[in-house]
Amino acid sequence: MTRLLVADDSETVLLMLQRRLEIEGYEVVTARDGFEALERLGEAGAQDPDVILLDAMMPNMSGIEVLEQLRDSGSKIPVLMISAHLDAAEPDRMRSLGASDAIPKPFEWEDLIGKIEELAGNPAPAADGDAA
């Protein structure tokens, strides 16, 4: 089962993401900010997630800071940045900071699942059986 760590400062967004991702068949660990995300990663006995979803803008410690710390410590876990900006240049900037991919908010659900599947290394994206 694909394991995900999802960090977002909005409780409701986090809950929504968790519930929907669970329905999609992922195992989801959540974090309310950057500190919590790093905490979850460092917990004894915890298995590393297959993909980390980070909201770029969070209070206390932003997703970008988490990303920088992870890359500094040599972690190679794929990171999908969820960026708040609609600017065309934003995904490129995220990639240059070490993110594996980036998706601007708001996103279509199918696009999110597609990117997660890609990063998790699952060859056939299972994005046909949902919604509509």
Partner: protein, 503 residues
């Protein structure tokens, strides 16, 4: 305080000075001419009288000569007669002396004449009266001396007349010249005065004109240096006050505008999170149709659709707010027109199929790349196609075409729907404006699509326009610049595609 008379007093002073100068010069000139005339007349009169007097002197001398000869039948000349003639002569000399008017030459001539006459009387007349003949030759010499000096006086008088005529002529000419020079000088002074006045106005007026132009050009910090005559200085101050108030108003307007932009930006941003959650959960519910009863499923579906619409509206608002705040950024790169247009056509096709409309996509062969942000131009094309799709009847025909026009590529979206009236065309790019024709009442949408399209196209340095004939459909066109470093002739085998009707 500096002496700075007003324009009217400057003009008044100028005219007064000019008038006074002209009057002075004229009076002096006329007076002088009059004086010259009077002098001339005096001199002429005097010289005539003097001439007359010298004639008399000569006659008086002839009488003396006659008296010095014995009358017929007498042996000796009459002493009394001689004395009377001599007195006559002396009288004439006294009158002539009065007329010399202090002229040295004439006085000398007169004195010489008197002396010669006296000598004649002593050497010639007196011996004759006493019965003695003067020594030989003496009579002739003395008589000649008197006659000669008498003629000399007469000549001198006549010379005096000529001289005073010449003098008067010269004086008249000189005075005339002097008056002419004086008038010319006065006019020159007036000219200098008035040009000085004009110059004193020109610089401040020039500054005002320059300032007004700059202000009209939008430079609200423009102020002019106040100067010149009172009226112009007042105008300058009024100008500066106007500029101050304009700048103040503009600053206030900018502030309010910025507040509004910030407000819209913040509100849109804050709305986004809850809407994302609502939409996410609603989609989750609709994905679990089997565990909902039909009513619940219907509700979930409506929530999902409404929140999607709300999300779209918030994104549009954010785009516009960013565009207003100058924060909307695009990343233009050389972009292949054919693949971009066809991608949008592919994405939009399901909407057209849903309404049994046909969508024909054509791209001119060998189009050069355009300098564009592909995602943003796709957004513009999608907005235009969405409008064509929504506002045209079922079964309508919509065409999306890209062609080269000069140094630009023109994109056109045309439909054969109800079209727009002239008045409607004026507002078609306004925010929240929506066509009101009957068919379109049910059309959803934010009314922001075309406003965003306009912003985006203009951000690319292009221009967008709409034209339409009521009842015959509408065409929206926009142009984008050709990429300078793009491959000019990209050959794409599938660059011309005509999709069949979807029915």
């Amino acid at each position: 305080m500096r002496f700075n008379p007003s324009l009217t007093s400057r003009l008044r002073i100028g005219f007064l000075v000019l008038f006074a100068l002209l009057l002075l010069v004229s009076l002096l000139g006329v007076g002088r001419l009059f004086q010259v005339r009077v002098n001339y007349e005096d001199d002429i009169t005097r010289s005539f009288q003097l001439e007359l007097e010298s004639e008399r002197l000569q006659s008086a001398f002839i009488l003396e000569q006659a008296a010095a000869r014995p009358a017929t039948g007498q042996s000796l000349p009459n002493q009394a007669e001689l004395n009377r003639a001599a007195a006559n002569f002396a009288e004439a000399v006294a009158r002539a002396r009065d007329l010399t008017g202090g002229d040295d030459e004439l006085s000398a001539d007169l004195s010489q004449l008197a002396a010669n006459e006296a000598a004649w009387r002593q050497k010639v007349a007196q011996p004759l009266v006493n019965g003695k003949l003067p020594p030989p030759g003496v009579e002739g010499t003395r008589t000649k001396a008197v006659t000669t000096s008498g003629e000399k006086l007469a000549n001198a008088s006549s010379d005096l007349r000529d001289a005073s005529r010449d003098h008067a002529r010269t004086e008249t000419r000189n005075t005339t010249l002097l008056v002419a020079a004086g008038l010319a000088g006065a006019l020159l002074a007036a000219l200098i005065l008035f040009s000085g006045l004009i110059n004193s106005m020109r610089a401040p007026l020039g500054r005002l004109v320059e300032g007004a132009r700059r202000l009209a050009g939008g430079d609200l910090r423009t102020r002019v240096e106040v100067g010149g005559p009172v009226e112009i200085a007042t105008l300058g101050r009024a100008f500066n006050e106007m500029a101050n108030s304009l700048e103040r108003d503009a600053r206030e307007r900018d502030r309010v505008e910025r507040m509004k932009d910030d407000f819209v930006l913040t509100v849109s941003h804050e709305l986004r999170t809850p809407v994302t959650v609502v939409k996410g959960f609603a989609e989750m519910l609709t994905a679990q149709r089997q565990s909902l009863n039909p009513r619940q499923y219907e509700a979930a579906e409506v929530i999902a659709e409404s929140s999607a619409q709300l999300q779209k509206m918030i994104n549009d608002l954010l785009d516009l707010a960013r565009s207003d705040a100058g924060k909307l950024r695009i990343e233009p790169t050389p972009t292949d027109v054919a693949s971009l247009v066809q991608r949008v056509g592919r994405q939009m096709r399901p909407h057209f199929e849903e309404r049994q409309q046909s969508l024909a996509v054509t791209v001119e062969k060998d189009l050069p790349d355009v300098e564009a942000d592909p995602d943003r131009i796709a957004q513009v094309l999608a907005n235009l196609l969405t409008n064509a799709n929504k506002y045209s009847n079922e079964g309508a025909e919509v065409r999306l075409a890209a062609t080269r026009v000069g140094d630009e590529v023109e994109f056109a979206v045309a439909d054969n729907g109800p079209g727009l009236g002239e008045e409607e065309l004026n507002h078609v790019f306004d925010r929240f404006w929506r066509a009101q024709s009957g068919e379109t009442q049910e059309v959803g949408g934010t009314g922001l699509g075309l406003a965003i399209a306009k912003s985006l196209v203009e951000l690319h340095g292009g221009a967008i326009s709409a034209n339409s004939t009521q009842g015959e459909g509408a065409t929206f066109r926009f142009v984008l610049p050709i990429a300078t470093d793009g491959q000019e002739t990209r050959t794409d085998s599938a660059s011309r595609t005509t999709a069949g009707a979807a029915t």
